[in-house]
Amino acid sequence: MPEVIQRDRVKELRARGASILEVLPREEFDREHIAGAVSLPLDELRASTAEHLLGPNKQQPVVVYCQDVQ
């Protein structure tokens, strides 16, 4: 079950090299995103795109985010 985390935890995971995924449309990502994040819009999220972006290791920590809780 995905864990809902707060900003400080994101900072920790980011510092440890976790993959940070923005799932908003690409224009939103291009406008501004968390430094070091990669773009994987929700409507493009499939096994192939996820593996292409994240690699084959499915145990690695991954953080996903969008605009806000809405």
């Binding site: 864990e3 994101v10 501004e32 999220l45 991954v62 985010y65 969008c66 809780v69």
Partner: protein, 251 residues
Amino acid sequence: MSSRAAWRLESLGYSDVSDYAAGKVDWQANGLPTEGHAAREPRIGSLAVRDVPTCRLDQSIGQLQPQDDLCIVVNEQGVILGDLRGKALRADPATRVEDVMNPAPITYRPNVSLHEMAHYLVDNPARRVLVSDSEGHFLGVVHRDDVQRALTRGTDPAYTLGTGGSNPMGERFEEMKGKVKEGAGKMTGNEDMEAEGKAEHDMAKGKRETKGAANEMKGHVEEGLGKVTGDDEIRARGMADRIKGDSQRAG
């Protein structure tokens, strides 16, 4: 959306997925690093002065050492609970801070752009505003003069934020002055004064609107050019001019 994405990743076999539900808004609001073409827009966080006296609710006025007529009331966690300015700081020295503080100062996030802040300051006489993160922690104070300096650096020096009517350099001040003269003429039955005031007001207003329209047009052109050429700097400059023009026109 991030929740659905997190679940989808789990369904694809990823076993260590976290959902940062507060998202980009929370990250930006706390002044954390971002990338992308909008990330280069100047923000008020960069102008925030952090060395500002703070105090606690249970202190007395006589114990405080305010600077520049300001003291921020915070709790142990550094969360803003109020502020003290002007008359409150001159209360009887035995008065408790919580009895005279302003309990609801307006605060801004550090990711607010300078131009958004300029819009606010054009219509408000505030000399400075407080900056906090999304949990209310005090991050600093941004001074009107610093915003104005940052905005006019390398641009039109005639663009001033005014100070709610006390800055003779501002075109809005000239407008207001004309309006006051017109009102005074009307009240005293002095038709010449009334007409003169109206003319001064209309002239200053026209000047401001013309300048605003020119800046807005220039901004549109630059923004379009930036989009076409993919030059984010030109685009950002265009956007800044457009906002400035819009603000000038709107008065």
